[in-house]
Symmetry: C5
Subunit: 84 residues, 5 copies
């Protein structure tokens, strides 16, 4: 699980059908001081994270597949919390 900052959205017309209707956010992992660390991850977001907000993301494929309601979906990362 990473602390990350939302950097934007990704829109894709051609995609796996399980992603239909989900917001895909670009999440830049950051340190406790807010400095970027490592590569950005694409995550699905059900919490309504805004641009530049800090979030916690997790790479739990099983939980992400449950979220989109398709147990064969290739989804893996999801936003699990929005930092206060």
């Amino acid at each position: 699980m990473f602390l990350a900052r939302v950097e934007g959205n990704v829109t894709a017309t051609r995609k796996h059908p399980s992603f239909e209707g989900w917001r895909l956010v670009i999440c830049q992992p950051i340190s406790g001081k807010g400095e970027p660390e490592g590569s950005p991850q694409i995550a699905i977001d059900a919490h309504g994270a805004g641009l530049h907000q800090r979030v916690v993301i997790s790479s739990d494929g099983a939980a992400a597949r449950k979220a989109v309601g398709d147990d064969k979906s290739p989804v893996r990362w999801l936003v699990v919390g929005i930092v206060d």
Copy 2:
């Protein structure tokens, strides 16, 4: 899941039989601004991503094995969407 840019193809005559007939693309993870980040990944592609196109890739082994139709395949990364 990473945002990535397609950098080319890989062709391999000697390979695991489950890769037969699949296009293997070299995907360079990138930031929201398009800068390369981290190591390229090899992914299978069923969406027809073109050279230099931006894609979202996922490391879901189960979904990738389902895609190639071989539940013992060592495949892991797949293109899950093409960015508009």
Copy 3:
């Protein structure tokens, strides 16, 4: 599993319900000499690790889900020991 130093806490009001009541700590992986290495991870902590303490963290999703008592939780990293 990484050797890490606790860098702080994360508080999130909007979050996955399985995180309710758990302490989320920012863990900076370190080398044997104490130098930072790689990106910080967010982990749940049941051992009461203090700020700047050295801990061992693990990315075992199954064990973390068992810890929070929710087998659908997207939790992944947990503190598994506090270094003497």
Copy 4:
């Protein structure tokens, strides 16, 4: 899955018994242009990859365990194809 270049072999007398009889190759991940990227991985090889050859490696534990014929083996990376 990574594109990688074979950098050498590893020989180990004391090891997990499931590795017995398998060639362990040091695989340096590379970019599409052949530049080294990230840390080398140790993989088992059944395709007969030669020194400095380019290969595709995958971290599929289930497929690797099937390859060595021991479903409790700690093996994880394997060579899945040799680049033409």
Copy 5:
């Protein structure tokens, strides 16, 4: 699986009970030429690897849990061979 050099031990009084009685070694991944690469990992060791010895480590959670005899253990990395 990484080629790594043993850099030391970790001792922890407060820890997950499944780690009781196991040696935890700090393993610095290295290249084929012996240069450090990436972040150190903490692994359990049943092969008796000495300080500065080169080992192969694997992140197989299932195999590691089997090794410690607790199928709920959060252990993940283990030494699978000592390089000659």
